[in-house]
């Protein structure tokens, strides 16, 4: 297979697959109609009616978009960013102190094994039912994969690199920035990527308990009204959000890792 | 089909193309039973491609391969191969014994006891007696390559293909392994086709050296190696005939521009 055909396929194939999936769903739900599984077109209509039926000045976004989707996105991103930030900083601190590993690691392993839903009551007590609670809840979920991956990445910097830096008497802050950080970045990004998936799962959860708006809240509203197209619409929307978030992160990852790979080559 | 001068393996007009790039441009060779033949050529000369076609891993674009006078289409059952990268060709989840036994698993005609005996015997002939329960990653590089050789031996092939098998070990280990393969060849009746980029190694080990050109690869020269049968790492290499052969082969490899 020659390379031009290869590259065309690589770009076209995902789109073909997507079209195929939608097409199969449409076909099956049209031929075997079910109340529980509306056709793709009905789901599309529901999404359009809910969120994209607004005036042209607002890019056709409806009021509901601004009152439901935007808050969800805001919580998602701020929660993810907060969890990522804390996770990376703490991860560096713990990772750079190999002596504390034996004491701290088991506690961390325990804390991250607590399933997020069971700490909802705790967070409701501590932080109320507003946005802070949700953002902190999301941040907590994101914290663990980022923290543990950062620790792993920082601890596993190749010793030859560290030794080289020491032999050339490179100062500690420079060592951290130019040796430890680049070496740990792949693992950190892996943690951040898992964090995206966790953030979305947890965000939806948080909006299904004690929430007055958001995509999760809309899901519950749809459930109360038995409105399946609406519910599936929210699910599709979440899938799109997740896909875009992932793609964005992947794009950043490629850029950053390429830059650091080049900078590593100059050391 | 007896007669030691009847070709065991014959290759006629073998060609191979990757896309529009012709890697092998018509190779003819024949091996008789019990020969030790070295193939040497510049890098990129399609040596590995040639071995892959012979071992059945790759279907050549054109040309024929004959074993015992019969055309071969798929993986010939009398051929065993030793790869250069032992750490990737041995299976790390299996013990040494399991690795050596691997080719024998498929051979239904062997009993369990017979297989165990072959494994033990092969390991002994490569100097690894007693390592059955170890894992490959517990052994040094040289020892791992011995396991790979033992694995091929256990198969009792009539042709042993070796693809630059000693290129990934250090010089001293290489000498040990070269002498090992000579010993093994003396004690086990088989033909060895040994691919290498090391001219000295090709002359030291073989009775015949096939010199390949750069791609599109052809056999440029078929040189007999009239050195005494018993080889010694220092005595043999000090012989004037050795230097002459080395010079002749090097001239063909380095002098060629196409």
């Amino acid at each position: 297979m020659n390379s031009v055909a290869n590259r065309v396929l690589r770009v076209a194939l995902p789109l073909i697959v997507l079209a195929a999936v939608i097409g199969i769903w449409q076909l099956v739900t049209t031929l075997a109609p079910s109340f529980f599984f509306p056709t793709a077109t009905r789901i599309g209509d529901a999404i359009a009616d809910l969120y994209f039926s607004g005036p042209p000045e607002h890019f056709f976004l409806s009021d509901a978009f601004f009152s439901e989707v935007v808050p969800s996105l805001a919580r998602l991103f701020s929660g993810w960013a907060l969890g990522a930030l804390v996770g990376i900083i703490l991860g560096f601190v713990v990772g750079l102190l190999p002596r504390v590993a034996g004491y701290v690691d088991p506690v961390l392993q325990f804390l991250r094994s607590v399933p997020p839903p069971v700490i909802i009551p705790l967070y409701l007590i501590l932080f109320g039912i507003g946005d802070e609670m949700k953002v902190l809840f999301i941040a907590t979920g994101v914290l663990w994969p980022v923290l543990l991956n950062t620790i792993d990445g920082v601890r596993n910097v190749p010793t030859t690199q560290l030794d080289t830096a020491q032999a050339f008497k490179i100062r500690v802050p420079d060592r951290l920035l130019h040796v430890v950080l680049p070496a740990a970045l792949p693992k950190i990004f892996a943690g951040l990527t898992i964090g995206v998936a966790v953030a979305i799962v947890v965000m939806v959860l948080s909006e299904m308990f004690a929430a007055t708006n958001g995509i999760g809240y809309m899901l519950l509203q749809g459930q109360r009204g038995f409105r399946f197209p609406d519910m599936w619409g929210e699910v599709v929307l979440l899938g799109i959000i997740g896909f875009l978030f992932n793609t964005l992160l992947l794009f950043v990852e490629h850029r950053v890792l390429k830059w650091h790979r080049q900078s590593k080559g100059t050391i | 089909m007896s007669g030691s001068d009847r070709p065991l393996l014959e290759v006629r007009e073998l060609r191979h193309q990757y896309g529009s790039h012709e890697v092998i441009g018509g190779i003819n060779l024949s091996l008789t039973p019990g020969e030790f033949v070295a193939i040497v050529g510049p890098s990129g000369a399609g040596k590995t491609t040639l071995l892959r076609t012979l071992s059945g891993l790759l279907r050549p674009t054109s040309g024929d391969i004959f074993m015992h006078g019969e055309k071969v289409d798929s993986v010939p059952s009398e051929l065993a191969m030793v790869f250069q990268d032992y750490s990737r060709s041995l299976f790390p989840w299996m013990t040494v014994a399991a690795n050596v036994n691997f080719p024998l698993r498929r051979m239904r005609q062997l009993s369990k006891a017979e297989r165990a005996e072959r494994v033990r015997e092969s390991l002994e002939s490569v100097g690894l007696a007693g390592t059955e329960r170890k894992y490959p990653w517990q052994l040094s590089g040289g020892m791992q390559q011995r396991v790979a050789i033992a694995r091929a031996l256990a198969y009792r092939p009539s042709v042993l293909l070796m693809d630059e098998p000693f290129a990934s070990v250090d010089a001293q280990t290489r000498m040990d392994l070269e002498d090992l393969i000579l010993r093994v060849w003396e004690t086990h009746p088989m033909t060895v086709l040994f691919v290498t980029h090391d001219i000295d190694e090709s002359v030291y080990l073989s009775q015949r050296v096939l010199v390949l050109s750069k791609s599109p690869t052809r056999v440029v020269r078929d040189i007999a190696v009239p050195l005494p049968r018993a080889r010694d790492q220092f005595a043999t290499k000090a012989l004037p005939e050795f230097a002459a052969l080395r010079e002749e082969i090097a001239g063909h490899i380095l002098g060629r521009t196409t």
Binding site: P106, P121, L122, L205, L238 | G56
Partner: protein, 272 residues
């Protein structure tokens, strides 16, 4: 020059328990910190019970038959769903990872469907399947399929071609190569996917129990204890036990992985 790794001599008792001792110290330290924060710095504004009380309650919960029934219900649903997820994902993943066209196509499929959070499906599945174990199993099966599928596809796809060639050169056909080379080689990565799937299974099961009016389950227990207003000690104790359970499962899986696949770490260590 030859280096045969010798079997380790048995370590002294003090050395072997050093890890456990440090872990205990770490926990004690964390508990003391939390206790001080709650009792003296009023963390939680008076609503948060002291850690020591929570731990005592957790200890009694572990022997409480009502709670144990709930734990069993959650584990059962998670396990059945996980098994179904494995039965779907591993064969499919092996198939997709084996052909390069199927690989590219399935990657696209997984990248689009994977981001869908399984928690979002809870309301839908509750309406379709009810509030009991069938609903939980279906959700867990869906949720666990994705990480297992992803890891199986990549694990199978990334098997070393030299390893496959070695088997083929000795006359093994497609099925032989699959059974004796591809699957053992991919197994560690598939197992990693399994570990991730286990934690997802628990999250999804407990979330579903909390959102539905399930008859049994840890989620139900916590929900009831929360709304009963009997003090948050029991709620947090249950949460602690759930965490301990998750931790135990994680630890067991990690040990199994290290033992069954010790060749991966060693192979990397020997400079592969």
């Amino acid at each position: 020059m030859s280096s045969i790794a010798s079997s380790r001599p048995p370590r002294r008792f003090v050395e072997r328990t050093a890890g456990v001792r440090r872990a205990l110290l770490g926990f004690v330290g964390a508990i003391v910190l939390a206790e001080v924060a709650i009792r003296f710095f009023d963390l939680g504004g008076g609503y948060l019970p002291p850690i020591t009380e929570v731990l005592l309650r957790a200890a009694t919960l572990i022997f409480d038959p009502v709670f144990l029934v709930d734990v069993g219900a959650t584990l059962l649903a998670a396990l059945i769903g996980l098994v179904i997820g494995c039965l779907i994902a591993i064969p499919l993943g092996t198939l997709f990872g084996s052909s390069s066209l199927a690989f590219t196509a399935s990657r696209a499929l997984v990248e689009f469907l994977r981001p869908i959070p399984s928690t979002a499906l809870i309301p839908i599945v509750i309406l379709i399947l009810g509030q009991q174990i069938e609903m939980k199993v279906a959700l867990v099966a869906f949720a666990t399929t994705w990480p297992l599928l992803y890891n199986t596809i990549y694990g199978v796809h990334d098997v070393d071609p030299v390893a496959k060639d070695s088997a083929r050169a000795f006359g093994y056909g497609r099925f032989g190569v699959l059974a004796f080379v591809v699957l053992p080689s991919a197994a560690p990565f598939i197992f990693t996917g399994l570990r991730f799937a286990v934690s997802i299974a628990l999250i999804v099961t407990i979330s579903a129990e909390m959102l539905a009016a399930s008859q049994h389950g840890i989620g139900r227990f916590i929900l009831l204890a929360n709304s009963a207003g009997i003090g948050y000690t029991t709620v947090f104790a249950a949460a602690t036990v759930a965490g301990l359970l998750g931790w135990l499962i994680n630890w067991a899986l990690e040990r199994t992985q290290k033992r069954a696949f010790k060749w991966t770490a060693e192979a990397i260590g020997s400079g592969r």
